[in-house]
């Protein structure tokens, strides 16, 4: 089947010339050392490294526009780089080209407290933003495990443990400035953010993985820090009962802020890495946000649901230190898992299914893991029907690599068959391109047409998504 976006006019690309012109313009800010290029072409993916030809550190949107203009003229690939925490080879440079490192564009530009929004440069990380907001009574809720950049998070439509209450990047980006493939910068929405006339360019760019434009500024929603936060832990005899408790909680309309599942293998990993001392049973971490009385009421109600579903030991606390320890451990789940087999790489899956199918999907996946004898801890954003397995494999063993690939394929097919998706939050990058057609069919060709309309020479992050 023809796929316009991947038929790159590679013959016409002149990467060397583009780099030479950019070197004159950027001097020392353009780097071509091997290690710096490899750092920017690989990051946390288990896919093989494909470094760019040069890395440029941009200081402002004019730099980005200048780089893209030069690259457009010479059909040179351009790849934006946030902090490099993406997991599907999003940053690989299969056709070489220029990587724009956005880390120097790290200014918080304007807190609009009245409007519960903030304008930031794309290199600001989620933790840096929340540190900046410390004294305002406001916070930014999207929290992928890594301390990712806001630009990277928008580009991957990221979510995190708070998504069940606060949504994902698609719900929290109000408007964007972005440099398009011809080097021109656009603003996707006016200051009146509640409505916009015309097509939703903001949401088209959110999740486009750097293939439609390079984000140079974001306005994102903020939320008031809740008066009270209560959090806790509980155990379940099996994953099925934990899923049942989740469904009941949501159906009762309890506005739970976080509800995260760890399977036994992950509990063992996190106990060792984060010194938690949890019982070795399927475990749920939860959190409630609201007024003092509301969080107390919600915690009690949730406790009843846990008991009804056969769970045990639900204890909740408002103590900040205890809560922080718990959530830091949740965010460190990936590192904890890798610690179980330090020499191995982690192949991470990202299935998302309707919650009524979550227990089935997890159970079948569990059996698959056992049948393959994998070491593969599992964590789930159960409130959204999304879960990850981290299959720890020896990259020097072709047998293990092949088995992990096949496992990951079966899991994607399983999720798609259950009415779900192969990627709930990590995105397509290079790693999931193969499954996209299984999931979307001809729709992929149609998306490729949009790509071609926006970027006819396929210079923006080529080889991704399609």
């Amino acid at each position: 089947m023809s796929n316009p976006a991947s038929d790159a006019p590679a013959g016409e690309r002149d990467v060397a010339l583009a780099c030479a012109i950019l070197k004159q313009r950027f001097g020392e800010r353009l780097q071509t050392g091997k290690s710096i290029r490899e750092q920017h072409g690989h990051t946390l993916s288990w896919l093989p490294n494909q470094p760019p030809d040069a890395v440029i550190f941009a200081n402002d949107s004019q730099d980005v526009a200048d780089i893209v203009s030069v690259c457009a003229e010479h059909k040179c690939p351009v790849i934006a780089f946030g902090v490099g925490s993406s997991l599907e080879g999003h940053l690989n440079a299969p056709q070489g080209g220029v990587c724009i490192d956005m880390s120097q564009m790290n200014q918080v530009l304007e807190v609009q407290a009245d409007d519960l929004s903030v304008r930031v440069q794309p290199g600001v990380t989620r933790k840096a933003l929340n540190t900046y907001l410390r004294d305002t009574g406001l916070f930014f809720p999207i929290d992928p495990g890594a301390d990712a950049s806001l630009g990277g998070m928008a580009a991957t439509r990221a979510s995190g443990t708070n998504a069940v209450r606060y949504g994902t990047m698609k719900d929290n980006v109000l408007s964007l400035r972005a440099v398009m493939a011809d080097g021109r910068e656009i603003n996707t929405a006016s200051r009146a953010k509640k409505t916009s006339a015309g097509y939703d360019l903001t949401r088209l760019l959110v999740g486009s993985e750097g293939t439609l434009g390079i984000i140079t500024e974001l306005t994102v929603k903020l939320h008031g820090i809740p008066e009270s936060i209560a959090g806790g832990v509980c155990h379940f005899p099996d994953v099925e009962s934990a899923c049942r408790a989740t469904i009941q909680t949501i159906q009762y309309g309890i506005p739970i802020a976080r509800i995260e599942l760890l399977d036994v293998s992950q509990v063992i990993a996190s106990n060792a890495y984060s010194k938690l001392g949890l019982k070795e049973l399927p475990t749920m971490f939860v959190e409630f946000h609201g007024s003092d009385s509301a969080t107390a009421e919600q915690s009690e109600l949730f406790g009843e649901i846990v008991r009804d579903c056969g769970g045990s030991d639900f204890e909740w606390t408002k103590d900040e230190a205890a809560r922080n320890k718990l959530w830091q451990a949740r965010h460190d789940a990936y590192w904890a898992a890798r610690q179980m087999r330090p020499e191995a790489e982690a192949v991470i899956t990202d299935a998302c299914v309707p919650i009524s199918r979550l227990a089935d999907c997890v159970e079948e996946t569990r059996k698959d893991i056992e049948a393959n004898n994998f070491l593969a801890p599992m964590v789930g954003h159960v409130g959204d029907g999304n879960f990850h397995t981290m299959v720890l494999i020896d990259m020097n063993s072709p047998k293990e690599v092949a088995a992990a690939k096949e496992f990951s394929e079966r899991l994607s097919a399983r999720a798609i068959a259950m009415g779900g998706t192969c990627t709930g939050e990590h995105g397509v990058g290079q790693g999931k391109t193969r499954y996209l057609r299984d999931e979307l069919g001809d729709t992929v060709d149609f998306m490729a047409m949009i790509k071609q309309a926006f970027d006819p020479d396929n210079i923006l992050n080529p080889g991704k998504i399609f």
Partner: protein, 359 residues
Amino acid sequence: MVAGASSNDASELLQQQVLDSIARSRPLNIVGGNSKAFLGAVADGDALQTSNHRGVISYEPTELVITARAGTPLSEIEKLLAEHRQSLPFEPPRHSPDATIGGAVASALSGPARPFAGAVRDYVLGCRVINGQGQQLSFGGQVMKNVAGYDVTRLMTGARGTLGVLLDVSIKVLPVPEQQITLESTIELPAALATMQKMKGSNYPVTAACYHEGKLSFRFAGSEAGLAAAIADLGGDKTRDTSFWDELRDQQLAFFNTDQLWRLAVPSGTPALDIAGEWLYDWAGEQRWLKTTASADSIRETVARHGGYAQLYRAPESLQASAGVEHPLPDKIMQLHSSIKQSFDPHSIFNPGRLFPGL
């Protein structure tokens, strides 16, 4: 799965009509319940009726997701949801009893809850469409999170039918609050705007805020006991009657009885604007309805100065033609619109000019 009252799959028929139109190069006006015929310029073309393509395809109350054919009346969907104490959180206006879910998504209009609960775009999870090549395509899905490729679902939302025919939509729904209370007080405009602004940033569970005819109204979700602090803070009369909000949502208040109406969207914190006329302030002041004889240019100029924009929501045809419905877009943005339109609808079959002239 809960089946709808009357159910009919007309997608093959609709697809055939689209293919015929492409073959004959005849534009199509996509019509649901035709409750928003006034919105945007309607071009010369054949009508494509979606109202026979109707019925709820699936509804899982435990999943908080409903999937329905585009021609399903909003009233039917809301009735079904209400039986399970759930609702469409964005409160789409029902300009007439015939309004369909497809029309609500295509026009992306949201009701009084908008600034607090979110917009249509925040709840649409997936859709199936017929594009301008006559192909049926599906985007998104029924799960809460999906990052498999471009977010085309949200591009379709609010495109006013210019990109394709919506066949089915999947929408996230939410439980209805157990109790709702409205507080009303008589107050001057500047104080009302300031109070609405303050309440929006408060910890209180506000679900709507409107200023109309000297009266400031707030709607809250929660019990009287739970709202004691808000009630003490704001004062005013309390009522459980929600009819004011329904009338506001559906434009049934006397104020809306007019054939010339402007809708202004302004940034939060915008003061009263210096345009003579009658005003109604919804969305905590961010959406303003205006009846005026002032010229379109002067209105658009004033609103733009405050970072907002003005839409000619209802107007006699002559004014609609001379003033245009929407604020014109910057050139580069318009170019991107054209390339999107070209990808979806290369033969310019769907609703030409309904959103912007020439699109």
